[in-house]
Symmetry: C2
Subunit: 332 residues, 2 copies
């Protein structure tokens, strides 16, 4: 797909900062791709970027307007249409992470077609994939896995890519969800792929590469999450990871969306992900933990990470508090 | 979806018997739903049903023309269109198990719409599903699982349903693939569902029921098949099986479509299916084997089944050679 940057991040009339979390991810991880943010009256989100009009952004070379905001229901507010039409007139493409499609808004689709602009609905895969084969391919792959959904797998993968590149590794983040795709400028929203083709889509996303190249693959959900585990298994088999990093949030009372189900035990979760990954990579193993300790104070977080590392004999980091260096140390 | 019977089975100009295997499955398992078969000139398949013209079939009450044949490429032959249009005129619906859609053939779609007939493209789910929850629901469920694709899971489930009904069980076959759907008159082609919704689709397909009611769920692929295992895992979690029957073909040199991959070991395959199923049903277990011994002579088959039963301490049957009674004996 290859979404062109620089980006202008559109926050619309976001009712609160959380509504703009997709744009926030882009601003955090690809600040140098962003010429600024565009906010409508009443917007309650602020990414700390310069506020720019469409004209100012276009003058600074913005190539894509990113719809990185969700109002209630994941729909486009009618008030956004004028902005989208004007962005097309000024030479920009539009990329959106919403469930509803930009390309279904008739006036926007018609203008984009007339002007030769691209519309990217990143939640909706547009290409067809081959069936996966599980055949080994060259290159190294790291997959972020987890005990639950929404537990830091994208953040972890991006932090690992950043640290690896800083050390001179050949490393590419491979996006499997909408925010990741806007951050990477490319990728596949894997949970929207027809189930027969999930592992094949991941084989496409993280293809054969140089022997010393690392794909750092964004994980999705968990093999122990009964709503989405099939997505995860296709991702595990398709990415044939050499190593996995287990993401976890120690204070979460239950699995996301499932009030009656506890977050699984870490040891069980490691075992099931290693067993599954070994179907396509016999040497696959979990080599460390990435823990979201946001709900703990400094002392409690440090204690938890230390105890976890001792218990399992492998590094446990919080990428927000302390970075991921101890994990990258293991990748030689 | 609820496809109305009686059926007229359309074999077209099938170049060989294997091309009509979908129709063959319907004729085998639902012979009392079939008024006959309709063959065009040059057809090389024969289901052993009476040959009927469209008019004869209509006069005998046929409600649906079943397109149960694949020519090369899974496409509709242009020569079939006349038959389809005439069937609609005579009051029949049309149901097809092909990849390409009847509803995409414009003259057929227009006539169906004008006459108020239904077109069922059973490989293509038309409804939306909720996300699965993994919550326990009443009723009992049996799932056919396997070491590979195309190994007898549908046949096994149908043989079990038949034996269970003959003994007075409340039992319903639940179809998850196109042939099964034509046999059941209903179901969900699970491998065509968007990956996020697979377990939810199975929760819809095999819903809460009487405590003494059995859903006998058609399995798909294998948790150890790297092309499709995600489909299987959604099916295992969504069906929350009380019991599973492991299907296997002992002489197969490699997994289907994967010349470099051996069929997995039975013990490993049982362990991985039981572990996965226990995520949504802690008591799930494999209780027997359904073995396709077609490639063996009688003595070799009997010896293999006996040794397998002894090795694992549970019944091993070939449903074609000897039926599935020893497995149903365990279901009380």
């Amino acid at each position: 797909m290859a979404i062109a940057h620089p980006y202008l991040l559109f926050l619309g009339d976001a009712p609160d900062p959380l509504s703009a979390k997709t744009a926030d991810g882009v601003a955090r991880w690809r600040r140098d791709w962003c010429v600024g943010q565009l906010r409508l009256d009443g917007c309650k989100a602020d990414l700390g970027l310069a506020d720019k009009s469409l004209k100012e952004a276009a003058a600074e070379g913005a190539k894509t307007l990113i719809i990185g905001v969700a109002n209630r229901g994941g729909r486009f507010a009618p008030s956004w249409q004028e902005t989208m039409l004007k962005a097309l007139d000024l030479g920009m493409d539009i990329a959106s992470g919403l469930h509803n499609k930009v390309s279904d808004i008739k006036p926007v689709a018609e203008k984009a077609s007339a002007l030769g602009r691209s519309l990217f609905d990143v939640r909706h895969p547009t290409r067809e994939f081959d069936i996966g084969t599980g055949e080994r391919r060259p290159g190294k792959r790291l997959l972020a896995v987890g005990t639950d959904c929404s537990i830091g797998k994208m953040f972890t993968a991006l932090a690992l890519e950043k640290e690896m590149r800083a050390r001179g590794f050949k490393a590419d983040f491979r996006a499997t969800g909408q925010t990741g795709i806007l951050i990477a400028g490319d990728g596949v929203s894997i949970d929207a792929v027809v189930s027969d083709f999930v592992s094949g889509a991941v084989e496409f996303l993280a293809p054969a590469n140089d022997e010393d190249h690392w794909d750092v693959v964004e994980g999705q959900a968990s093999l122990l999450h009964p709503s989405y585990a099939g997505v995860t298994l296709g991702l595990v088999h398709g990415s044939q990871p050499d190593v996995m990093v287990m993401c976890h949030e120690p204070t979460r009372p239950h699995m996301r969306g499932l009030p009656n189900r506890k977050v699984p035990d870490l040891k069980d979760c490691i075992a099931v992900h290693e067993a599954a990954a070994r179907v396509t990579n016999p040497n696959a193993k979990v080599i460390g933990f990435s823990i979201n300790t946001a709900a703990m104070d400094d002392a409690a977080a440090a204690k938890y990470l230390k105890e976890l590392a001792n218990r399992f004999g492998m590094p446990a980091v919080d990428p927000v508090r302390g970075g991921v260096a101890p994990i990258v140390d293991l990748l030689g």
